[in-house]
Structure formats: structure tokens, C-alpha cells
């Protein structure tokens, strides 16, 4: 009898159980004659499938499989059907059913042992049961039976199972390191009864993963899973072989550091200290960005090995070499934390100790660590400053900040000295800071009455090849001020004269300095320093050395360094010496030196001084004419027009005075100044030349100013005509003004016209006025003026071409439609 074949007794008892109907009997008879026909078996199976009798179907399936023992299709179909029956079934409660299925797989694979798919099904069946020994056994068996190229297929479900298993376990582990516990462990005679349970390694998974590693394509994932097993000896071995020994490992989904971290963790648990420290050294070299994390890990390692001093030492060492504030913060916080915990544990231990020797032995430890803790708290700013200097030794602001951290002069001196020796002036990026540092040092000596050292400092400071002029300028200024305080005016002037010594080719040096991109020291252009010149001139003026003062101002002007204010100072200085003509020559040079907008004030002073000094009338006229050219440059010099007009008025030239103002009205572009000038011009004209002379000016004014601003002039014009009296002209002016603005927005004019008509008109003229108003109300439906005046809008005006347009041909003055914008669009509304 073939193995697996049903025994005759079983067979016959089953027939009695499962063959009861006619159909079943018919199938049985047919099988008696045609048992090797697989189609008959299939029909029989289909029959039982439709009947829903699982036991009978199973009986037939099994018989069929025995009939065709090497038919993998039949076995597969049968086993698949059996597995569907177990879907969702608890493998522990129904272990017997699962065992039956397992036995069937065994039978099937005994007969079809090379069938990979069947092995896969079997493995899946084992994995569902989570029967680890069975899984390993079946996997081993399958790997032995299957061809090598199929091995990955067989491993795949197992690895997926391991993955789910490890992830599940990983989620349960609490990784929070209890630092307090670690600190307690660091005491030599610590015994912790309540020590946390260690995490158990998953040796089953690690062994399988270790084997899988040999053929796996994605080694990174396998190593990752291996790291989750916590089987540290295996991790040390495999990570050591595949990651540390070979530098070729390049993970894609996880960082390389993750694996090294796992390796370190494994070494910590199983390896020797030498191995651990060596691996740590490798990590520190390979992952400088993880330095703080690694050092904290190392510190914890020492703590766990009861080496607190070593743990503290590595942290202190790292604190003084970190390069980022983040790393500094981490290390600092951790160091403070372990010190606090350690000190509190020491105190507790000392209190609990009964042995006085033990207590006295703890005293120096407590004192030292409390001292260190206090130092860390107090020196935080200083340590942060150290860090900033490590990041950029040439950051002068950081050095200045460092100086402020120390209270005593000698400490400050040490910082200044260190800074000056360590800073490379060529690499300083902020202007003025390095000069401030040198001045700070000089001031320190000065405050300590070390006059010679202060001078020596300032002297050396001037020899530094500064990149920026502000630095050198600051030192010379400081020195001059220092000498002024210590020795007096003459020495301070000597200092500034030395600083401002003009080189042989000043223009060339300035050009080269600015095109030299910081390669030429600032000393090359120090003679251009406005601040040094300013102080120099102030001191010279205070010294009353007229010749030197004049020479200095002249030099400043020749070098094109003089500011408008310095020109004015020079003028005032000369005037104080009663050298008026010289001062006017300086004014002439000043106004020809600066651009028009800058010369306005200079002209103002020049004109005032010229008027005060009673220069010749023609000279003053020439000056006014020259100054009025500013108007053409777009500068608002309306005050000069007014001043000129007043000057001519004083000379008795009234017409000329009015003409100058009228000229100003046409030349000054600024609207408010222009309106002011018109007001003044009309006023002066009426006063000086009579009312009728103002008519052409009014007409010109109304034509040139914007509609919105013209109304007051129109009302004045009408009033003037009324006074003359020329009633018809006054009425025409009213009528003209009325057409410029919508009646609703022109109440002032209509009220005045109304009063005018009541006073001078008759019924007809009054009606005409009302008619005009009504007509305008109808025609000027929308007041476009306000809208057009808004910024960015085009200003609308009444059409000049419309014969029926308001005001067209109605004015005997033939005043054209007013517009101040020739680009305005004409629309027929």
C-alpha cells in the first residue's frame, strides 16, 4: 500500500457515511470502472461542492488526491479549499483543525516536495498560527526542497511576518531613559531592587534575519529589522561585518547614523569598553553633526558603568568644542541635569549613611559638583560667547560682547588682548566694530590713568590695515579727543594733521581703494574722513590760527570733501574776520560745486548776506538772476522771486517788482508756491500799479491755475470789476466761473453772483442768471472734476469744440476754457 493511501477499513466506513443517495452511488460506480479519469473525480467534487457537505467533499478530495498522488493541481485545489475553511478561525481554539490541515500539507509536500506554491501556502498556514518553531521548521524544509531561485519567494512571507512581529513589539517598548535611575546606578555600591525589566531579545527573528541576510537584496531593510530584535550579539556581529567593516553600505530609507547608533547600543550591552569606545570614535569622526547626541550617549554609557567623573568630563570637553548653538544647548542642559541629579543623590546618600567616613568622603564630591553647577549657571553667557567665537573668530561684535561679560579691568584687558591678537582685520565684515575694539582698549587704559599705554594702544591701532575707513577714523578721533583731554588743543591738532596728511596722488588712491574690493587698507583714504575734517576744523577755529583754518578749508574744498555746511562755516569764519569779499567768493564756489537742489539754502544765505552787506544793486540783481535759474531745474525757489520783487520795490521799480512775481508764477512748478506767488503778484499789482493793471494778470492766472483752485481768483476778479465799476465785465466773469464747476459744488460763486445781481442787476439779468444755473445743472449732470482730481485718473474738461458748450462764446473777455493739463482728453458729454 502506498503511503498516504486510505486503509480499506477507513474507506468502507466512509462509504457508508458519505454515500447514501443515488447520485453518490452513481459516482461511486463510475469510479469503480473509470477511477483514473480525473474528470469523473472533478464532477464528483463539484457535486459535493454544490451539496455543501464539507465532510463528504473532504473525503472525496482526499481520495482523489490519493488517486493522483503527484497531481499538484489537485493537492493545491484541495488545500486551498481547506484553508478557506480556516479563514478567520482562532488557531488556538481550533488547534486540532489546524493540525489536520498541517498534516495534509505534510502529506501533499511529501508527494509534491518541489512545488513552491504549495510550500508558500504551507508557510502562510504556519504564519497564521504564529507557531514559531513550525514556521522555522517548515521554512527550513522548504528551503531544502525548493530550487535556489525560489528561496526569496519562500522567505518573503516569513520576513513580512517578522516585520509585523517586531513592529508590534517595538511599539510596546518604552525607550525613555530614566536619567535618575542611570545616575543612581553610577554610584559604586548602588543596588537597585526595582530595576526595570530588560527588553528580551527576539532570538528567533534575529537568527532567521541573520540567515536571510545572506541572500537578501534589500539588506538595509533586513539590518533595520535586525536592529529591532534587540539580539545584541547578533547585531554586533552582523552590523560589524556589513556596516562597520565595509564602508560601502549606503542606506536609502534610513540614515547611516541610525545603524551606527544601533551598533553602539548593541556594543554597550554586549561588547567590551575598548570596542565601544573605538566604535564611538568612528561615529564621532563620521557624524560630526551628531556630535552632541553621541557625546550624551557616551556620557550615559559611562554613567551606566559607574564612571560619573568620566561622564562629566566628556560633556565638559564637548561643551568647549561644540560648533552649533543647538548642540551646545543639548550638552549644557544634559550636563546641568546630571550634575543636579548626582548632587541630590550624593546628598541623599550622605544623609542616609551611618558611617561618618563615608559621609566625609562624599563632602568633597558634593562641594566640587555644586561648584561646577554654579559655574555653569553663572558662566552660561560666557560659554555661549565662546561658542560664537568658535563659529567666527573674526566677529568683533562677539568680542565686544565678551568684554562686557567681565567686570574687572584686568579681565577686560585680557579679552581685548586676545581679541586683537586673534582677529584678522582682512576677515572682519562689519565696519566700525574693530575700531570700537581698539578704542575700548585705549579707553580702558585711559580710565586706569595709564596714559602711556593708552597712547601706545592708539598708536598701534592706527597701524592696523583696516578694511573700512570707519574703524581707522574712530581711532584717530579717539586719539584726538584723548589728547585734547590730556594735553590740550595743540596736540590734538597735531594728531589730526597726521591723520589727514594728504598723499601724493589722492584721487588715484581713492579710486583704487573703492575698486580694490577691500584689498587696500583704509589708511589710503583716511584723509577723506568727513568726521576727522570736521573735528580738525572745529579745533583749528578754536585755536584762532586764522591762516591754518583758511588753509584747511581750502584743502577741503580742493579735495572736493567740503559739505554745504562746511562751506557755510567757512563763509561765517571769513565774515567774522571781516573778509566779506572772500566769503562771497566762497559762496560762488559753493553754489557751483553742488547740484541745484542742494544749493537752494546756500543761495538763500548768499542772497541774504549780499543784501545785508549792501553790495551794488547790479551785483545783487545778477545774483538774483543766477539764483532764479534753480526754478528751471525744478527747484522751488519762490522765496527768491518774492525777495527779488521786494528788492526791486525798495529800489522804486514797481512794475519790475510785479513782473518778477508774474515771472515766478510761470516758472515755479510747485502748485502751492505757484498759488502763493499769484496771490502776491495780483495783490502787489493792485496796490502798486492800480486795479485795472491787474486785469491781464487775472486772466493769465485763471488760465494757468487748475479749475479747482481758480474759483477764489475768479471771485476776486469779479469783485475787482465790481469795484471799478464795470458791471458787465463782472457779470461775464461770474458767468465764466460758473461754467467751470457744477453749480452744486460752486455755491460760493452762485451766492456772490446772486448778491451781485440783487445789488446791480435787474429782473432780466437775475432771470438770466437762474436760467444759466438751471442750464448748467442739466448739462453738467456729473461732476467729473472731483473724480478726475483723484490720483491716477484723467482729468475731464468740457469740450472746446462744442459750440453749445458752457461758456463758449459767451464771454466778452474771450476767456478760453481753463485747463492746466494740455494732455487732458476732451469729451462731449
Amino acid at each position: 500500500m502506498k503511503p498516504g493511501r486510505l486503509s480499506p477499513s477507513v474507506m468502507y466506513s466512509s462509504i457508508a457515511q458519505y454515500v447514501s443517495g443515488k447520485e453518490e452511488l452513481a459516482f461511486e460506480y463510475e469510479l469503480q470502472y473509470n477511477g483514473d479519469n480525473v474528470e469523473v473525480w472533478k464532477r464528483y467534487i463539484d457535486y459535493h461542492k454544490s451539496s455543501g457537505n464539507h465532510s463528504a467533499l473532504s473525503w472525496v478530495y482526499e481520495r482523489c488526491c490519493y488517486q493522483f498522488p503527484d497531481s499538484k493541481e489537485m493537492w493545491t485545489e484541495y488545500l486551498q479549499w481547506r484553508l478557506t475553511l480556516l479563514e478567520g478561525v482562532n488557531p488556538v481554539v481550533y488547534a486540532e483543525e489546524f493540525d489536520k490541515c498541517t498534516r495534509l500539507f505534510e502529506k501533499a509536500l511529501y508527494l509534491c516536495h518541489r512545488e513552491v506554491h504549495l510550500w508558500e501556502m504551507y508557510l502562510q498556514h504556519c504564519l497564521v498560527q504564529k507557531n514559531l518553531s513550525l514556521i522555522r521548521k517548515v521554512l527550513d524544509h522548504s528551503l531544502r526542497c525548493a530550487a535556489l531561485e525560489s528561496h526569496l519567494r519562500l522567505w518573503s512571507p516569513v520576513i513580512a511576518f517578522i516585520e509585523s512581529l517586531l513592529f508590534e513589539k517595538e511599539a510596546e517598548i518604552d525607550y525613555d531613559d530614566e536619567l535618575d535611575l542611570i545616575i543612581q546606578q553610577s554610584f559604586p555600591n548602588h543596588q537597585d531592587p526595582g530595576k526595570a525589566e530588560p527588553v528580551l531579545p527576539d532570538i528567533w527573528a534575529s537568527r532567521l534575519l541573520g540567515r536571510y541576510m545572506e541572500i537578501a537584496e534589500d539588506q538595509e531593510h533586513v539590518l533595520f529589522l535586525l536592529s529591532l530584535t534587540k539580539d545584541y550579539p547578533t547585531i554586533v556581529k552582523i552590523f560589524g561585518d556589513h556596516i562597520v567593516a565595509q564602508n560601502a553600505f549606503k542606506p536609502t530609507n534610513h540614515s547611516l547614523f541610525y545603524f551606527y547608533k544601533g551598533y553602539l547600543e548593541a556594543l554597550e550591552k554586549t561588547g567590551s569598553q575598548r570596542q565601544y569606545l573605538k566604535a564611538m570614535e568612528v561615529c564621532l569622526d563620521n557624524f560630526p553633526e551628531q556630535r552632541s547626541h553621541l557625546v550624551i550617549t557616551l556620557s550615559k554609557y559611562y554613567l551606566k558603568n559607574k564612571e560619573f567623573a568620566q561622564a562629566r568630563s566628556v560633556l565638559q570637553e564637548c561643551l568647549s568644542s561644540t560648533m552649533t548653538s543647538e548642540a551646545f544647548g543639548e550638552i549644557y542642559d544634559f550636563l546641568v541635569k546630571i550634575l543636579e541629579l548626582y548632587v541630590s543623590n550624593c546628598i541623599q546618600e550622605a544623609q542616609d549613611a551611618t558611617d561618618p567616613d563615608k559621609r566625609s568622603a562624599l563632602d568633597p564630591v558634593i562641594t566640587y559638583n555644586i561648584g561646577l553647577l554654579e559655574y555653569l549657571m553663572e558662566a552660561h553667557s560666557s560659554l555661549m560667547n565662546d561658542l560664537k567665537l568658535r563659529q567666527n573668530i573674526n566677529n568683533v561684535a562677539t568680542w565686544l560682547e565678551r568684554v562686557s561679560l567681565y567686570a574687572s579691568s584686568s579681565e577686560k584687558l585680557d579679552v581685548y588682548t586676545e581679541a586683537i591678537l586673534k582677529i584678522d582685520p582682512a576677515l572682519v565684515s562689519q565696519s566700525g566694530d574693530l575700531g570700537k575694539l581698539w578704542c575700548g582698549l585705549a579707553q580702558l587704559y585711559s580710565d586706569s590713568n595709564e596714559v602711556d599705554s593708552a597712547k601706545e594702544t592708539l598708536d598701534r591701532g592706527t597701524r592696523v590695515p583696516f578694511k573700512f575707513m570707519q574703524d581707522l577714523e574712530m581711532i584717530w578721533l579717539k586719539w584726538a579727543e584723548f589728547e585734547l583731554e590730556q594735553s590740550g588743543l595743540a596736540d590734538a591738532i597735531t594728531i589730526l594733521e597726521t591723520a589727514l596728511t594728504i598723499p601724493s596722488s589722492p584721487d588715484l588712491l581713492i579710486e583704487r581703494y573703492h575698486s580694490g574690493e577691500g584689498n587696500i587698507p583704509a589708511k589710503a583714504i583716511i584723509f577723506t574722513s568727513p568726521q576727522l575734517w570736521s573735528l580738525y576744523l572745529d579745533l583749528l577755529e578754536a585755536s584762532s590760527n586764522i591762516e591754518k583754518v583758511t588753509g584747511a578749508y581750502e584743502q577741503l574744498i580742493v579735495l572736493k570733501l567740503a559739505t554745504p555746511l562746511q562751506f557755510l562755516n567757512y563763509v561765517k569764519f571769513l565774515q567774522a574776520q571781516e573778509r566779506w569779499e572772500d566769503s562771497f567768493r566762497v559762496y560762488e564756489r559753493a553754489v557751483s560745486t553742488f547740484p541745484p537742489e542742494t544749493t537752494l539754502d546756500l543761495w538763500s544765505f548768499y542772497l541774504n548776506d549780499s543784501l545785508v552787506s549792501n553790495r551794488q544793486v547790479e551785483t545783487i540783481r545778477d545774483l538774483f538772476e543766477s539764483s532764479l535759474r534753480l526754478a528751471r531745474e525744478g527747484v522751488d525757489c519762490s522765496s527768491f522771486f518774492i525777495q527779488y520783487s521786494e528788492f526791486e520795490q525798495k529800489q522804486g521799480f514797481f512794475k519790475r517788482a510785479v513782473d518778477i512775481l508774474a515771472r515766478g508764477c510761470s516758472e515755479v512748478a510747485d502748485e502751492s508756491s505757484n498759488l502763493k506767488l499769484w496771490g502776491l503778484c495780483l495783490e502787489r499789482c493792485k496796490t502798486l500799479l492800480g486795479l485795472e493793471s491787474s486785469r491781464p494778470l487775472y486772466e493769465k492766472c485763471i488760465r494757468s491755475v487748475p479749475n479747482s483752485k481758480a474759483m477764489s481768483f475768479i471771485l476776486e476778479f469779479a469783485k475787482m470789476e465790481e469795484v471799478i465799476p464795470d458791471i458787465a465785465r463782472a457779470r461775464t466773469v461770474f458767468k465764466f466761473g460758473a461754467q467751470l464747476v457744477h453749480p452744486d459744488a460752486n455755491r460760493g460763486l452762485w451766492d456772490s453772483w446772486n448778491d451781485f445781481e440783487l445789488k446791480h442787476g435787474d429782473k432780466e439779468s437775475y432771470k438770466e442768471m437762474l436760467r444759466t444755473k438751471r442750464q448748467l445743472m442739466d448739462t453738467m449732470k456729473t461732476s467729473t472734476e472731483e473724480i478726475s482730481k483723484q490720483k491716477g485718473n484723467i482729468e475731464f474738461v468740457s469740450s472746446k469744440h462744442n459750440g453749445k458748450g458752457a461758456g463758449q462764446g459767451t464771454s466778452s473777455l474771450e476767456l478760453p476754457q481753463s485747463t492746466d493739463n494740455p494732455e487732458e482728453i476732451s469729451l462731449d458729454i
Binding site: 588682548t417 586683537i420 602711556d452 592708539l458 598701534r460 591701532g461 596736540d491 598723499p503 601724493s504 589710503a524
Partner: protein
């Protein structure tokens, strides 16, 4: 009167205290610790100002490239020593002014009033064609100095002041000659170290003449300088008869001055106060000074 003394105003009390302190020879601010002087390292780092003239030329590329250096023993006079030198220069200067109308200015203080160190030269200015030559010279000098000098020594001076002129013959220097014993022992060794380092490092020998002209026997420390008014004779010997006459006159003047000074020896106490300890030499290198300490017996 005693009663009045008991009721002094605050200002008067302060004045009395100041006087008392002065009488005891103690400064008012001696109660607070004095600050250290400006460290030598800073003075050395910024020894020479940037040379702006080299940027003033029409074409910076045509500037002759070269490296110069200078070896010397430095003395940084204390406040007291500066006062001694001032007094010496003032006394001798008065005599010389009346004799030849020269105005000697002390060298320990700059024109702007800042203290300056003095020095004893160990040779003329050395020029090198390349920076590598200069570096080699500096390195070799360190080795030579280390080997030849194994302990600090004290520099003392001869009691007779001397007048020296410069190469350009536009200034005269009032100097203290280094004492014979120091010259013949320590300075000689240092001079040899410099010469040997030069021989080692320099490929060309263009300055051999100037090197030969300088010997350790002339070792001195200039303490004051007087500028000569033109005309001065640049070359050592003139070609025209007028130049030769001027040269002879110039030489005679210096000899006369030296004879004059020989009759007025410097007071021994002044010389003692100017003695200083030398524990290394300095070398100018790229606008800084390089400090070369002596070796030590203990090593």
C-alpha cells in the same frame, strides 16, 4: 592753628591726603592694581603701518616686489627709563645744539607722543627676492638662535655716547654703544646666527657689500635723532671736488661731535638704570615682528 587743622574742608582733606601719599612716594591710584602694559604681542603684530605709497604709483603692477627684514634686540623702556633717556638727551642735546645747531629728538617717543621701543640692530635691512627666502631665513634664525643662545643676558652700555649717521646721510643718531663684554660675547653670537641664517636662506648675494659693512662691533642703541638740513652727501664718496670737500667736512663734523661727547661721560647710575634683560631677538616679517626666544639650559 591746630583747631583749624581739625576742621578742613573736603577738598583740603583730599589735598592733604595727596601730599601725604606723595611724600610716602606712593601714587594716589596705587591703591588700585595697575593694569599690565600693552602686551608685546600686540606691538609686534602691528609693528609697521600699511605702506600706502605703493598704491600711489601709476601702475601697481610695476612695483618692484621684494621682501625686507630686520633683526634686532628690542628694549621697551619703562617710564623711569624714559625719564632717564629724556634727561640725557636734553642735557647732551643742549650742548650739541649750541655747538652745531642740531635739534635731537628722543626716539623712545613718537612725534605724536606715544611710547616707542628702542633697539640694538643685529645687521642692516636684509632684502630677499622671494617670500620663501624670507621664510627660510626666519626658520633658520630660530634654529640658530636656539642653538647659540641658551640663556637670557643683560644688555649694558658704554659710558660714552656716540654719534652715528644713516645710509641716506639725512640724519644723525645719538647712541649708546653696547658694552664691550656683551658685544664680544652675546651680540657676536647673535650676529653670527644672523649671518649664517642669511647664508643659508639667500640665493643671490646682492647685498653682500652692505652686510660686510656692518659688524657687531658697532652694536649700539640709538636714543635720539636729529635731521640734517640739505645739502647732504648721499654717496659714501663724492666724485666732484665740491662733493669731496663736503664729504670731508661731514666726516669731520661727526668726529668732532664724538670727541665732544667723549669728554662728557654718562653717569654710571644712568647707565645702570638703562640696563635691560634680553631673552630673545625680534625679526620684522611682513609688517609684524617675529619673536625668537633663546634656548634654555634646562632643555
Amino acid at each position: 592753628m591746630n583747631l583749624l587743622d581739625q576742621y578742613l574742608s573736603e577738598e583740603e582733606e583730599e589735598e592733604v591726603k595727596s601730599k601725604a601719599a606723595l611724600e610716602r612716594g606712593i601714587g594716589i591710584r596705587d591703591s588700585q592694581p595697575r593694569l599690565k602694559p600693552l602686551p608685546d604681542q600686540i606691538l609686534d603684530k602691528y609693528h609697521i603701518s600699511p605702506n600706502i605709497e605703493k598704491y600711489s604709483g601709476e601702475d601697481m603692477n610695476t612695483i618692484a616686489r621684494g621682501w625686507t627684514s630686520f633683526a634686532f634686540v628690542e628694549m621697551r623702556p619703562s617710564h623711569r627709563q624714559r625719564l632717564q633717556i629724556d634727561s640725557l638727551v636734553h642735557t647732551v642735546g643742549l650742548q650739541l645744539r649750541s655747538e652745531i645747531g642740531l635739534e635731537f629728538q628722543p626716539l623712545h617717543i613718537s612725534e605724536l607722543g606715544s611710547p616707542l621701543p628702542l633697539h640694538v640692530s643685529l645687521g642692516p635691512n636684509f632684502s630677499f627676492q622671494t617670500s620663501q627666502e624670507l621664510n627660510a631665513f626666519a626658520q633658520m634664525l630660530q634654529v640658530e638662535t636656539w642653538q647659540k643662545m641658551n640663556a637670557p643676558f643683560e644688555v649694558g652700555f658704554e659710558p660714552i655716547l656716540q654719534i652715528y649717521d644713516n645710509v641716506d646721510r639725512n640724519a644723525l643718531f645719538l647712541a649708546l654703544d653696547v658694552s664691550q663684554s656683551v658685544k664680544n660675547s652675546h651680540i657676536r653670537r647673535l650676529w653670527t646666527a644672523v649671518q649664517e641664517s642669511l647664508d643659508f636662506s639667500r640665493r643671490s648675494d646682492e647685498c653682500a657689500a652692505s652686510r660686510c659693512a656692518w659688524t657687531f662691533e658697532r652694536s649700539h642703541m640709538s636714543i635720539a635723532r636729529a635731521f640734517l638740513k640739505p645739502p647732504s652727501i648721499k654717496a659714501a664718496g663724492g666724485h666732484t671736488s665740491a662733493e669731496r670737500t663736503l664729504d670731508a667736512q661731514y666726516r669731520r663734523t661727526i668726529e668732532q661731535l664724538n670727541m665732544l661727547l667723549a669728554n662728557r661721560p654718562v653717569d654710571r647710575s644712568v647707565l645702570d638704570s638703562l640696563r635691560f634683560q634680553c631673552s630673545g631677538i625680534k625679526l620684522t616679517k611682513q609688517r609684524s615682528n617675529l619673536w625668537i626666544p633663546f634656548g634654555s639650559d634646562t632643555q
